[in-house]
Amino acid sequence: MDKIRFATVWLAGCSGCHMSFLDLDEWLIDLAEKVDVVYSPVGSDIKEYPEDVDVCFVEGAIANEENLELILKVRERTKFLVSFGDCAVTANVPAMRNMLKGADPVLRRCYLELGDTTPQLPNFPGIVPELLDKVRPVHEVIQVDMFLPGCPPSAPRIQAALEPLLRGEKPVMEGREMLKFG
C-alpha cells in the first residue's frame, strides 16, 4: 500500500498545536513509517503545498490574506482536512481582536496607541500579508472533515485521532479526553 500523504499547516495560531504534535515523541517514528510528510512547518522543508494530499491537520484561524490564500489551496488539494486545535475550531485567542471591529482599529491600537518608540503602522504590500477585518475559524471559510479541539490538543489526543485515520477510519470524538476545549 502506498504511504498516506500527510501534511500540517500553521495559520493564525501560536504553533502550540504543532509543539503538541512533536510531543508524540517516539510515536513519530511509527508515524513516519506510515506517512509521507509532504508539507509541514515542523516535518518538511517544502515551500509549496503539493497536490493530492490525503490528510492535512490545520492549526490556526484565518486572520490574514496569506492564511486565506493557503487554506483555499489546502482545501482544493486535500482529501481529508482536520481543524487542528482551538484556533482552527473556534478562532480562539486570535479572534479576540474581532471585538475591536476591523483590521485598522487593531493595527492602530497595537502600533500607534501602544507603540512606545517611533509608533508607525506596518505597511509592506506584497511582503507583510494584510490582516483580514475579521478572524474566522477554518470551517467558516472552507468545508472541514473533522474537528480536533484543544488548546493545544494533548499528544495522546492527537495520537487517538490519528491512529484510526491511518487505518482509514474516522476517530470517535467523544468525552473529555477528546473534546474539551481549552
Binding site: 485567542v93 479576540m96 474539551k180
Partner: protein
C-alpha cells in the same frame, strides 16, 4: 399531600404533587442536563437545556419549571432533544466570547462540561464576537461579561439567599446583561455584602475571584450547599 404517578424514560415514578419533572427525574436517578438551575433557588427555565418530550403535548417543556401530573409519559433523552441541547450549547458559545484557553474557569466550567457532554466539537453557528466589558471595581471579585451566559444564577442567589439583590438583568435582547446596583460599577454598590455567593453560583468564569489566572478558578461545587444552608446557619459572609 397527594401523590402523582408518571413515567420518565419508561420508568414508573411516584412523587408528591407540586414537584417538578426535574425533581422527579433526579429522584429516579435520571440525569437531565441543566445550566440555569441551582438547587436552593427558584427555577426560571432560562437555558432550555432541560427540555423534555411529553406524550400528548406537541411542544417541548423545560423540566425545571414543569410540574408533574398524573399519568405523564416523559422522554428526557431522545435524539431530537440531544440535537437541540447540542445546538443550545453551540449557540451559547457563538453568542458570547468564550475563550476557554484564557479563562479562569478552564477545567472548572459548567458550560465547558456541557459542551463535552453534548459532544460539541465545533459551533455550527457563526461567532458573534459582541463587544462586552469587564468590571473589576469590586475589591475581591470581578465580572467579565464576555463569559456570561445570562443564566441569572447570580441574580437569584443574591436576591433569594443573601437578600441583597445587588444583581439584576438590564437592557433587552442581544444587549441584555447582568448589572450590579442600578448598572453602577460593582465596587460602588453599597448593598453588596461581599458574601461571594454569586461567585460560587456562577457556572462559567464570568464572576471570578480577583487574582485567579487561567484555569485557577477552582470552584468547589460541593460548597454550593452553602448557598442553600447559609440562611439557617447564619453564614452571612465568608
Amino acid at each position: 399531600m397527594s401523590v402523582k404517578t408518571l413515567k420518565i424514560d419508561g420508568k414508573e415514578i411516584a412523587i408528591e404533587e407540586g414537584a417538578t419533572l426535574l425533581q422527579a427525574a433526579k429522584e429516579a436517578g435520571i440525569r437531565i442536563p441543566t445550566l440555569c438551575h441551582l438547587d436552593g433557588i427558584t427555577d426560571i427555565g432560562a437555558c432550555r437545556l432541560c427540555l423534555v418530550e411529553i406524550a400528548g403535548i406537541n411542544r417541548l417543556l423545560p423540566a425545571c419549571v414543569t410540574e408533574v401530573s398524573e399519568g405523564m409519559d416523559v422522554q428526557t433523552n431522545t435524539p431530537k432533544l440531544k440535537e437541540y441541547r447540542k445546538m443550545i450549547i453551540e449557540m451559547l458559545f457563538a453568542e458570547g466570547n468564550h475563550v476557554c484557553a484564557v479563562c479562569v474557569a478552564n477545567g472548572n466550567c459548567e458550560l465547558q462540561d456541557l459542551a463535552i457532554e453534548m459532544g460539541m466539537d465545533h459551533s455550527r453557528f457563526p461567532y458573534r464576537f459582541p463587544e462586552r466589558d469587564v468590571d473589576v471595581s469590586h475589591d475581591e471579585f470581578g465580572i467579565d461579561h464576555n463569559r456570561c451566559v445570562l443564566c441569572t444564577r447570580c441574580v437569584r442567589v443574591c436576591d433569594e439567599i443573601e437578600g441583597a439583590h445587588v444583581w439584576d438583568v438590564g437592557f433587552r435582547g442581544a444587549a441584555a446583561k447582568v448589572i450590579t446596583g442600578l448598572n453602577q460599577p460593582w465596587g460602588t454598590v453599597d448593598a453588596c455584602t461581599s458574601c461571594g455567593k454569586c461567585v460560587e453560583a456562577c457556572p462559567t468564569g464570568a464572576i471570578f475571584r480577583k487574582g485567579a489566572t487561567v484555569g485557577e478558578m477552582d470552584r468547589d461545587r460541593s460548597k454550593l450547599d452553602f448557598i442553600v444552608t447559609a440562611r439557617e446557619l447564619k453564614q452571612w459572609t465568608r
